[in-house]
Structure formats: C-alpha cells, structure tokens
Symmetry: C2
Subunit: 533 residues, 2 copies
C-alpha cells in the first residue's frame, strides 16, 4: 500500500474522486473514439451553483428537533450541503447533474457523531414524519442515495462517525465506526500491523458502513473475500431499537441474521459500527500478468483456480476488447502492452513461505491451463492503477462519449452465455439508436461455483444521453434476468435495480423482506423506496 | 471413502446408528469408569413396545385429507411409526425413552415423495388445523423433533424424497432431494467423480435437508466449509407458496436470504431440495497426527493455521483429557497412543500438486508452532473411526454412566476463558450433586476469527439422570451466555437451546424473525415451538 492509498478522498458533486487525480484522454484514446463517431464534445455542464434543487420542506419544529439532536452546527439546509448529497456516481446521476437537474436532493443534511445521536435523529424523524437516508461515501451507482421524496427527507451524513473502535489482534477482528472511509480504516489498522484488504474501485471514498449495507466486493476478493464475508458483527440503529448482530464467527443458532442487515441498504435502519476480519499486513505482495489466447481459455483457467484449494489474492481477467484497450491499466488506456488475446492479473500476498507455496502451485497450474507468464510488469501496472478506472469517465463524458459500467454474476456453466447475451443486448439497444458501441468485459470476482462479469460500455452520446443509456440498461437488465443471473454482483439494488431485483427474488422472499421492513420500520422512515418499493 | 461410508443407516429408536456397528466397552474404559464411582449398570430400559404414546388425535376427515395427498399407504398412525419419529438422539431423549416416556410422539406420520406432495400435505395441515414437523435423519440432539403438541401433529417424513436431481460438473454444484442421506448423496456423486465432503458425526443418518436447516458443520469444515457455506440454492415449501432461493454464488441483490432459510429448523416451511457446492473426489487424502505439549500451544497453532491463506482439509485438536482417553480413536478408547499433551489431526485432501504444496507449508508451520509430527498412524486411526464416537454412548449409558456432549463457538481471544468456564460450570453442577465428572474437549471447526469447542461429559448417573443432566446443561448454557459465546456451533436450537438463543439474539433480531414467521406461516403450522416459542 502506498501512502496515497491511505488518504480518503471527499468526493465532490459531478466528478469522480480527487481533483488532483483527474485524467486526460490520450491521443490514442481520442483516436479510438473517432471510430465510434465521437468527435463533438458534450455540452458544457450546468454550473453546480445553478443546479436547481426543490424547495426545502423542512422548517420550524422539525428543524429544531433535528438541531437538538446533533447541535445546530451539524444540520444544514443550504444549497451546497444538499447538492453534495444529491445522488451518487452512476452515469445517469452525472448526466442529470450536468443537465442541472437537482430533483432528488434531500431537504436537510444532519451529521451525527455518535451511535446515540443516530438514535436521537431517527427518533426525531419518526416524531416529525420525516424520511431518513444514510449518506457516507456517496459513491452509489444504483440510485441508492435517491429515496422517495414523498416526505421531507433527511440525509444522515455519517462521515463524522469515524475511527477504530476496537482491535482484537488475537481474533484478528477490528470494529470501525460506520463512517470510516476505507483508506482511513487501512491507515489506522496499518499502524497496528493489520489491514482489511477490501479494495473496491470506490475505495478512496467508500466507508465501512456503506460497504456492509451494499455487500461490496473488492479487488482482493479471491484472497480476502467479499465485504459481507469479512463482516463478523454489526451494530444497527433501527426504528424499534439497536440491534447488535454477530455473536461468533459462525454458529447454528438460527438463521445468520448478519445477512439480513448486510445488503439491506439502509432500509431497516442505520449501521453505526462494523466488526470486520483483518489480517497482518502482508510481508510480500507479488502481482503477475498472464496471457491467454482467448477469453474462453482464460475463463476456464479462472474457474480451475477458483475451484482449487490454493488461491491467489487477486484474480482478474480482461476479455479481448478490454485487453485491447488496456483498461486494466487506465493511465495507459489505448496503449496496450499485450497484443491480442486476454490479460490475466494474478496477485499473491502473504508471508514469504505462504507466497512461495502458493506461487509454486499457481504457476504450474496456469501454465498447464494455457497461460503464458508475462512477468510482474503488467501485474504491477494494474496494481498501481487499480483505482484509476473511474477517473477516465469524466473526460470521456466531456469528450462526447456515453460511458457506463454494469455488472452481474452467475454460475460458471452460464458465464459465456450471459456474457454473450448482455453484450448483444447492450450493443443492439445502442445500435438501434444509431450509436455503435464498444462493450468490454472482465471477470474480477470468482467463486468455486461461478463468477462476476463487469462490463464497460462506450458509445457516442446522443442529444438525450440519459434516455439513450436507459434503453441500453433496460435491455441489459432483461438479458440478465432472462439468463437467470443476478441483477448485481456488488453494485447493490438502490432504486435502479429494484424492479429487476423483485423479479429475481420472487413472491415469498419479497413477503419475508416486507415483513422485516414493516416490523423494524413500521412508519417506513428508513430509506423509503430503496431496495423495496 | 470406504464402501461402508457410502451406505446410509436407518436409525432405530433408542440406540445410535447401525446395530452392526454397536460397541462394547473395553476393560480400560470400564476401569476408568470405576474412578467416577460408576459400578452399577443402569436400570433395564422399558421395552420399545411398552413405551406409552399419547392417544392419536387424528381421525376422520383430517386423516382422510392426509391420505389423499400421498396415498393411504404413506400415512401411518401405528405405535411403531410414531415411536420412530418421537424425538432425536440427545441423552435426554434417550433417557426419556429408556424410562418409557413417549409424550412427544407425533399423531401421524406422512411420507411424501415429491415437492408437490409436500405442498399438498402442508395445505391439508392448514385446512385441518394440524401442525407439521419435518423428519429426515432423526439425529437431532437439541429437541428439534419435539414441537409443541398443542394441536394434532404430523411428522412429515422426507426419506422418500431422495436422489441426485441435477449435477452441474462445470459449476461444481449438485441438487439433491432434501431427504437424501449423506452417504447416499456421496455414493450418487462418487459415481460422477464428485463429492460434497460434509462429514458431521451424524453422517450415517443425516440428510442434506436436515443439514441445511440446522446449519450443520462437518469434520472437513476447514477445507470444504460448513454446510451453510456449501449451500448455493434451496427450494422451500412455505405455507404461502414455494420459495426458490439462490440465483448466483454471491450477489449484492439485497440481503442473502438463503441465510434466512438455512438455520430455520422447519419453522418457515419444508426444504425440498438443496443445491450444494461439490468438488472432484480427491486423488490424495493424507491424515497426520501432531503432538502438542498442551492445549494452549495446540490452540495457538490451530489459530495460526486458521488465519493463514493455506489450510488443511481437516483440523482437530483434542485437549489433554480427551487425548488421555483417546476419544479421537473411539474404537481404542481408554488406550491412548499419545502420552501426555494434546493430539492434533491434520488432514489434507486434493490432487498431488495441491497436497504437496499445502503439506510443505503446513509441516513447516506446525513444527515452528511447537508441534511434533507423529506420522500418519494417529491421523488414519482418527479417520477410520470418525463416525464411531456416538456409538460409545449407548454402552456407557447401559453401564450406569451419564454421558452427553455439548458445543459452542466464540472468538479466538475468548476461547480459553470459555473452555474454562464451561468446564467449571458443568463440573461444579455435577459435583454439587455428588457426582465427580470428567469433562473433555476438542476444537474441530476453525475460522480466521474463532473456533468451536466440543465438550464430552461423563459422570455417574444418579436415580434421576435426566434431572441430573438438566442441571448441568443449564449451568453450561449460563456459562456460555455469560462468556458472550453462541449457544450452539452446529447442533442447532430446537427446543433445548431456545431460551438461551432468544437471549443471544436480543429483541430486534427476535422481532425480525417473528415477523418472517408470521408472514410466511401465519397459522403457525410449521414446527410450532421449534426455534421460536
């Protein structure tokens, strides 16, 4: 981990991440855009201070009640505060903001500092007929920050609730306040010799609470697991009281109700602290590139490793299109070091003996499975640029491109079919609008029984890029559903995936979820419209 | 796997497992019993046909309705049929049966053959005001087969619902009918080159459905995971309809509701099929014994391996007392090959390269951690006797001993404290009744953040052995709760652990569970009193 990877970034509206990290398109990328007919830049975005927000519906007694919970200095209703919690970072979110649409803004922002203050804010919301929507990293890409606006809505900003609350070095668990951003968490833990090892692409801004309620998955999931695998306990403020969930690593004491709150996206309450598994900072980290002749051969190799007893820490396979554009190394996008075929990144972290034993196995297997060792350069290049990908989007949008990502997950036997049908659905939906598209894909999360697919789509933006993308997204959702895959592997449901999600889970599961919602949040105060309609 | 390990056993009332496998006490065990004052055999058990069952409350229209669902030949109300589904195999269950107490018997036994027949039986139960209690392996040790008898109760015997319904060799998943017993499942899969690798002590009788709803853990959990980790999909008949749960290996599409049905113990409905992760039958299986000077050193070594990236398939550590009595090799109980200290069994399964790489790592680490390699003899002896332990109980009860097991799970940092306080609680509770006890313990399931503790208790049986044990068990439950551990690692809740379980989960989680129960089973037809009061 470099020092910069330990500094959290406050995301500002409309552009991803840290302004110092913003990217410019290389000539080769600009050249590639020409092939898609992308020659005219996008209209200049509406300035942020000109974005129109709905009139704030909070005043008088309700506002006083909120001020009494956290102190007046931590309650804001001004334009900038509301704008900063308006939506997340999906391309539709960015397009709406660029067009000056602030319709989803909360009425007020309230920033508690403690668990007890969250309890008090929630009580004040109940007493005053308000809705409450937790806000932390602000990096949602599925409409998870845009609840129904039927009632005045409080954006509960958790970013004052930070810190390492407890570390158990023997059990290797750490309890962190929910608003702790991942780089801050890693910095605090590194000082004690530990790390979480959770590296989603939103790492710079994402918080531990946000990762818990959205079932986030990070780039080292092959080695350290998804975030929902790492969480061993949670504290949740629900409207009926505080739940402390997670007595032991695993147990047979009824259903594992940690899994009821993980993925609940704030619909059952507010997670205030999270206890996660940690591990000693690895002494050795080695990232290697492997070349495979084609995606099918590479995917078969991914599967063989995912189904083996010895696994790498990071495993990532770009398809031919993504390898060609070199998206695994965003800073050199358009200038691929690999000619033809597919690039796999294999990272192994641990102590010396551990890494030696695992590399001995992995090297033998990968060669046997048709891979060619490219050495550490492509692996280290990927590692250095691992959080850079999303920074490419803003200049691409500026340049007149429509660019977005989407993801899904299925069983291994269904993976190629799913990849084909989603690619075809998106390509056809955009093609039907007159805009040929490049659809690239990678596998970055593997399980013994299946894997995720992560698609990046680029086409020329039309006059109504939002409507243009929505048609493509709808086609993708339908293709995912038709293939029997899950609507999301790690982006969560929010409002964007809700309709497809309800089809995916069916009536009985929906009835169970609604029952939990009604029992824990009888007045539908918590994130109305998120996850459940 | 030997051939006998692929043959399921129909457990008959009152004695564990297959009659051909019954055990006799060696002279050394009999000698050891003398030290505990156990010299007089127990009273002769009441003959099975003299066990008094409550009058069957099912007749007329209700019985006709049940007969219409599965055919009259699959509905039984006779003494033997009801007796065979009376309770499970806890020591209290056995003591009640030995005393002739048949009070918990179901009113009728209904054996469906298909998912649709289960739907029909459940509908008939609703229509006629009956309760329904699923029965499969019959090996519960927590009162999981003794629901409230407030209404006439149907024991739904699932053992006609067997078979491998689907195998996906690419994704390495297998769908099995819920009533398939584990040896049958392994036999069917072995014919296709695969295995589940789930080996609980109840393996010979347990079913895949039973393992799912109780969150079973098997002896190879270090390598292949617990059963709830292995399950990727479930089909459940609930009173409001069929739920098909599990779209993908993992996803971020809301809470993972597989975990709502896993561990639900039949309270939300009847699991009719289970899709589990499988793996190719390992080419190599090597089991080795390691000696550690004491439990603390051995436990620290277990922890180091559990927290490493390379893990064995089986990992088991007996404490000094259990090592002394040689319980890891039940056929030679009382004649330990290891003098002093603690025996660890380390099993590694996989292909040649995999096992070589892992053994290289494990051997180096275990030596570094204070272990002495005892070679394969103690490991293979453990493997050969891995399902023999429970067979010792019946002759011990016959001989006048009170013998029972109990288990719990906690974080590593809490493990020694928990072991001490449970041991003291049980020893004191029995000692206070004038019966000195031997309390032995092993760790057989490890996680990066903690481990299970499995206790075996032997004392002299008094005139009221049931009351005698209940006092000890209550003391153990209180000690577990006071230590903040979970009331059960893999035995489940049933009725025996219910009170402590409710304390463990607290009000908010209980409210959520009750809401699910009320929504899916509004008339409380399914296993009333099991899991939830």
């Amino acid at each position: 981990m470099t020092e910069t990877a330990l500094t959290p970034v406050t995301f500002t509206p409309g552009r991803w991440g840290s302004p110092e990290s913003s990217m410019h398109l290389s000539d080769s990328v600009r050249g590639a855009l020409g092939f898609l007919g992308i020659t005219e830049p996008a209209p200049t975005p509406v300035p942020l201070d000109a974005v129109e927000l709905p009139v704030c519906r909070l005043e008088g007694a309700a506002l006083d009640a909120l001020r009494a919970t956290v102190g007046p200095e931590h309650v804001a209703t001004d334009h900038d505060a509301r704008l900063a919690r308006l939506r997340g970072f999906s391309t539709p979110d960015l397009l709406r903001l660029r067009a000056g649409d602030g319709a989803d803004a909360p009425d007020a922002v309230v920033a508690p500092a403690t668990h007890d203050e969250v309890l008090a804010v929630l009580a004040a919301c109940r007493a005053n007929g308000l809705a409450l929507s937790p806000f932390a990293g602000g990096t949602s890409v599925t409409g998870g920050l845009a609840p129904d606006r039927g009632r005045p809505t409080v954006s509960l900003d958790l970013r004052r609730m930070t810190g390492l609350l407890a570390l158990d070095p023997v059990s290797q668990t750490a309890t962190l306040a929910a608003g702790t951003r991942l780089p801050e968490a890693e910095r605090l833990l590194a000082a004690e010799g530990f790390e979480i090892g959770h590296f989603p692409q939103s790492y710079e801004g994402a918080t531990v609470g946000g990762c818990a309620v959205t079932r986030s998955a990070g780039q080292s999931s092959a080695g350290y697991g998804r975030f929902d695998d790492m969480v061993v306990a949670l504290t949740v403020v629900t409207p009926i009281g505080t739940a402390t969930v997670g007595t032991a690593p695993k147990s047979a004491a009824g259903p594992d109700l940690r899994q009821l709150f993980l993925g609940s996206e704030g619909a059952f309450g507010v997670v205030t602290s999270v206890t996660v598994r940690v591990h000693p900072v690895p002494a050795v980290r080695r990232f290697t590139g492997w070349h495979f002749p084609d995606f099918a051969t590479g995917a078969a190799a991914m599967r063989a490793l995912a189904q083996a007893n010895i696994r790498p820490t990071v495993l990532r396979l770009s398809d031919e299109a993504e390898t060609g554009l070199n998206l695994a190394n965003p800073s050199s996008a358009g200038a691929s070091a690999v000619t033809g075929g597919c690039l796999m990144v294999v990272g192994v972290e641990g102590d010396e003996l551990d890494v030696d034993c695992r590399e001995r196995y992995l090297t033998a297997r990968l060669a046997e499975l048709g891979g060619t060792d490219l050495g550490t350069a492509p692996g280290e290049a990927w590692r250095a640029g691992r959080f850079r990908g999303p920074y490419l989007r803003d200049p691409l949008l500026d340049a007149g491109a429509l660019v977005e990502t989407l993801e899904t997950v299925t069983w291994w036997s269904n993976l190629e079919r799913l990849k084909g049908s989603v690619t075809a659905a998106v390509t056809d939906a955009l093609g039907a609008q007159g805009t040929p598209a490049v659809v690239m894909c990678h596998i970055s999360h593997v399980y013994p029984t299946g894997a995720s697919l992560y698609f990046t789509v680029i086409a020329k933006a039309l006059d109504d890029p939002l409507g243009q993308w929505m048609r493509a997204k709808q086609a993708a959702n339908a293709a995912i559903r038709a293939a029997g895959a899950s609507i999301t592997h790690h982006h969560a449901v929010g409002t964007d995936h809700r309709a497809t999600y309800l089809e995916e889970i069916g009536d009985v599961q929906l009835t169970a979820l609604r029952a939990v919602k009604a029992a824990l949040d009888p007045e539908n105060v918590c994130n109305p419209g998120i996850l459940l309609p």
